[in-house]
Structure formats: structure tokens, C-alpha cells
Amino acid sequence: MANYLFIESRDPFESRDTRFVEETATALKQRGNDVTIFLLQNGVFASRQNARNSNLAGLAQTGIRILADDFSLLERGITTAELVSGIQPSDIETLVDLLVQRDTKAIWH
């Protein structure tokens, strides 16, 4: 079992291939791995509760840990209260800590 860390910086409304992260993260989780998705920059737009076509709530329910960069949220006017249930605000320091954990594979998308 390994730790997988997805860093999603792409806008789900502008980039159709953000589905790649959802599908790959789900598949890895189903194989028993620890999976974290860290939303960064325009990647945080999918974290809004009412966002069109967002699948993040479903991902969180599968046990995938979903974090959203607080600075990216702040710049886009997204407050913690607006986040999809299961998404936690986080920061770059936490991301660095996650990256240096043993057996962590990082995927920047």
C-alpha cells in the first residue's frame, strides 16, 4: 500500500481532463491505497457546494482525503462554509509535509 498525492491545479470548467484525477484517485483508493487530492489554484473551483458537475462530494465519501489550498480559496472568494462536505481547507506547508512522507507518490495535474 502506498500514499498517492494528487495536486490538482486545473480548472474543472476549462479542462475536461480533470476527470483523469477523479478516475485515477478512485481506482487507487479501490486498490487499498491512501489517496489525497490537494486542490490548488483554479482547481479549487470544484470545491464550491453548488458548482456544476462537481464530483468531489462523491470522492470524499469513498475515503479519499480532499484538501483545498486556503490561499487559492481566499483569492477566489470561496469561504470554508461554502466548501463541499468532506473538503478541508489546508495550506502549502501541509502539502510540503505530505510530499515528504515515506512511500508517497505525487502527481501534479
Binding site: 489554484q41 510540503v96 505525487a106
Partner: protein
């Protein structure tokens, strides 16, 4: 700075860690740390006449371009900002007269080409389209496209301009080469909305469907595939501007899209278009795909984001905030800004512009500073020359000038913090009527 150091550290770590095949490692160039302090200017045109063409003592042509340094427009300094002033009744008028035989009247809307090298000004009362060299402000070419040039909008690829010849009921294309200063009205590309038929076979102008098919504003998507053309009497055409002639790829009737829209902005892969008029204020969200001439009318169907119809609204200018988080729409009559979440198309706020800075600002066109901290608005005057219904005086404002809104909460709201007055007194009457306004990012 700390955040940037972390990003550098991240890059180093990611370079040393295992990655999957489709992963990419890069800091996106549109990164979040908007500390670059990009230099910019705010251009605004007072469309009131400045020149007496026939010597009878009244002013008949011209207009005035005001250029403000962006750094002068922060809250404390803004009211005393000193602009560069260009009289459009001088060299620009002389060039138009020499090249077309007539003087240009009422500089209404203008845009910069993508490179910012040229300024394209549409004169709504005379039909002139004027090209200025942005750096020197020198006029380089002028053409008369016919009855009215309400808006002349440059494409992103810089190869053409779409012109809404409003009272001529024509949608026209000017082919452009900014490097050689070659601008050619391509008559073969024209669509005549008075006589054309839509893909479904309906008349473009029709007493029931689209009773007044005068094109008001063409809004071009970021990829130059579509021009969303609002119509004075309601309805809308989505036009492929690349074909010759240009071709309608989607048709909407007046019950689907209401009259007199002009504000349009692309955000989150949607095109937001409004409708206006004294008691009209709707915002529609259109997709950017699915346009086929085989579609039935009103397809693909836009989402009605909100309607303020029946209230003193008159929505007009529109702009996206930083990162396209929100779309702001100004209401000239309502003196307010409506804020829309672009990920859900939900209205999340509306705030008033009435207060200490102005008791009746009549906000018109909007644009945003490159750092996203300020949104600027043209403020109409007490004697508006366009867009006003005298029954309501929807476009009448008490404080003509340039308005500065400080963006707050990431674009959720804002505060009208300053106004730079623009005045043009003629025989003791305030004639200033700012309308066209754009932010120029300095290269």
C-alpha cells in the same frame, strides 16, 4: 515571498519523486501570487461633441479621450488623478474627413486589439470606425461602414473585427493586419439582418420572433469561433465570424433573449450575455459548444441566471473578476452591481453604488485592473446622448466621470471608493457623457 519559496521547494520535490505518465510538473503561468504590479492605464471616452463642424455655434462632432495611469487610481489619490487628454475632434476627425469625406460623430465604444498596439473606436452616430496607434494616440486609418457603428470588436487572433452597424441592421467584418496598418471592410462577409433568413428558414427580422433585428453588441468568444450578437428588439444570433459571408449558427427569439443586451463576458467556459433597457435586466449563460445549423431555434438553450425585469434596472456593463470567480453586471438605472458565481450561475450578491461618492452614478461599461483589486466604471452624465429612455431617464447620472470600485472578498462584493470627475461644460450646461471605457495593460 514565503509562498513562492514553497512553490520552488515543491518543484524540487516533485522533480525527485515518482510521477505517473500523465502528470505534469509546472507552476502555471497564471499562478496565484498577483504581486506583479503590472502597469496599466484606464481609458475612458466622453462621447459629447467638441467641434463645431458647420460654424453655426453648436458642437457636432469630436469627443474626448481621457487616459489615466492605473497607479494614480488607488483610493487616496484617485480624485486628483490627472489624465492625458486627446481631443477626437482634432487629428482623428481630420483623418476621418480626409479618408471618408465626413466627420466622425459620437465615439461610443472602443476596444484594444490583443497586442494592445491599436485602439478601435466605433462612432455610433456616423458609422465611422477609427484606428488609433495606442502608443502615440495618432490616428492611422478611418473608415465609414454605413449608418451606425455601435460597436467594433476585435478578434483575439487579431485578424478581423466584427462591427454592429446598428441602424443599418448589418453585421460587418473588417479584416485586419495590425502590423501593416491594413484594415479592409470585407463586404462579402456582411450579414443583413433586415433581409436574411436563419438556419431554420425564419426571417432574421420578424414581427413576432425578432421585431427589431438591429445588432447592438457582438461579443466574441476567446477562441474566435462565435460572435454572440444581441438585438435591439430582443432575440440573439450566434454567428460564425470566420465564414464568408459570416453565418448564423444559432437563433434565439425575443421571448428567450430579451432586448437591448450589450454586456457580455466569457467565464468558466460559459458566455454571459445580458439584456437591458429602462426596466429590463436579465443575464443569460450560454454554453460554448453545441452550435449546429441543424439545431432547432433557441438551441442550445441558455440558462436564465436572473431577471430583474419590471424593476428600474437597465443592466449594461459586465466584467469577470480575478480568476473568473464571479461575473459582475452593472445596472445603469438601478445604480447597483449584481454578482454571479460562475461555477453555479447563482446570484450571490447585489450591492448598491449610491453613497458618499455619488448619489446617482449611472454605471455603464466596466473593466478590471490586471491585479483584480479594482473595477472601473464609466459614469454617465446628466444629459446622456445614448441609451436613455426619456420616460425613465435610465441613463441619466449626476456625476459624470470614472468610478473606482475596490474589489472585496475575492470578488463577492466591492466598495465604490472614488470618482474622477469628467466635465464638459457648454454654455453653462454639463454635457460630459462618458461611455466607452477599457483597461490597457502596458506591455
Amino acid at each position: 515571498m514565503k509562498r513562492k519559496l514553497f512553490f520552488l521547494l515543491l518543484l524540487g520535490m516533485l522533480g525527485g519523486l515518482a510521477t505517473l505518465g500523465r502528470a505534469t510538473i509546472a507552476v502555471r503561468p497564471d499562478g496565484d501570487d498577483h504581486e506583479d504590479n503590472a502597469r496599466y492605464e484606464v481609458w475612458v471616452i466622453d462621447q459629447s461633441n467638441t467641434r463645431d463642424e458647420d460654424g453655426n455655434g453648436t458642437l457636432d462632432s469630436g469627443g474626448t479621450l481621457y487616459i489615466f495611469e492605473g497607479n494614480d487610481l488607488s483610493h487616496d489619490q484617485a480624485p486628483s488623478a490627472v489624465p492625458e487628454v486627446v481631443d477626437l475632434g482634432s487629428a482623428a476627425r481630420d483623418l476621418c474627413l480626409a479618408q471618408t469625406g465626413t466627420a466622425p460623430v459620437r465615439p461610443h465604444m472602443f476596444f484594444f486589439n490583443r497586442a494592445g498596439s491599436h485602439t478601435v473606436i466605433a462612432f455610433v452616430a456616423s458609422g465611422h470606425v477609427l484606428f488609433l496607434d495606442t502608443m502615440s494616440k495618432a490616428p492611422v486609418q478611418c473608415m465609414d461602414v454605413g449608418v451606425q457603428a455601435h460597436a467594433a470588436v476585435p478578434s483575439n487572433d487579431q485578424t478581423f473585427i466584427v462591427v454592429a452597424n446598428q441602424n443599418g441592421r448589418l453585421l460587418q467584418r473588417i479584416n485586419t493586419n495590425y502590423q501593416t496598418n491594413t484594415f479592409t471592410l470585407d463586404n462579402a462577409a456582411t450579414i443583413n439582418f433586415a433581409t436574411c433568413t436563419t438556419p431554420s428558414g425564419a426571417p432574421c427580422q420578424d414581427a413576432i420572433l425578432r421585431p427589431d433585428a438591429r445588432p447592438v453588441c457582438p461579443v466574441i468568444d476567446n477562441c474566435d469561433r462565435f460572435a454572440f450578437v444581441t438585438l435591439a428588439g430582443g432575440g440573439l444570433f450566434v454567428v460564425d465570424p470566420n465564414t464568408t459571408p459570416m453565418s448564423i449558427v444559432a437563433e434565439y427569439d425575443k421571448s428567450t433573449v430579451h432586448p437591448d443586451g450589450c454586456g457580455g463576458v466569457q467565464a468558466r467556459s460559459r458566455m454571459y450575455i445580458n439584456s437591458g433597457g429602462a426596466t429590463e435586466g436579465d443575464l443569460y449563460s450560454f454554453p460554448l459548444s453545441g452550435y449546429r445549423s441543424t439545431n432547432p431555434p433557441n438551441a442550445p438553450m441558455p440558462t436564465l441566471v436572473y431577471t430583474h425585469d419590471g424593476t428600474n434596472s437597465d443592466s449594461h456593463g459586465a466584467v469577470a473578476t480575478l480568476h473568473e470567480s464571479y461575473v459582475w453586471v452593472a445596472e445603469r438605472f438601478g445604480n447597483n452591481i449584481t454578482v454571479v458565481d460562475t461555477t453555479s450561475d447563482a446570484v450571490i450578491n447585489q450591492f448598491s453604488l449610491v453613497g458618499d461618492v455619488s448619489n446617482d452614478p449611472a454605471p455603464d461599461l466596466l473593466d478590471i485592473s490586471p491585479d483584480g483589486k479594482y473595477i472601473f466604471m464609466a459614469l454617465r452624465g446628466p444629459n446622456p446622448l445614448t441609451g436613455n429612455n426619456p420616460t425613465f431617464n435610465n441613463a441619466v447620472g449626476s456625476t459624470p466621470g470614472l468610478g473606482v470600485i475596490r474589489v472585496k472578498q475575492g470578488g463577492k462584493t466591492g466598495k465604490f471608493v472614488a470618482r474622477i470627475p469628467i466635465s464638459h461644460m457648454v454654455a453653462g450646461v454639463e454635457r460630459a457623457d462618458p461611455h466607452g471605457m477599457r483597461v490597457l495593460i502596458k506591455q
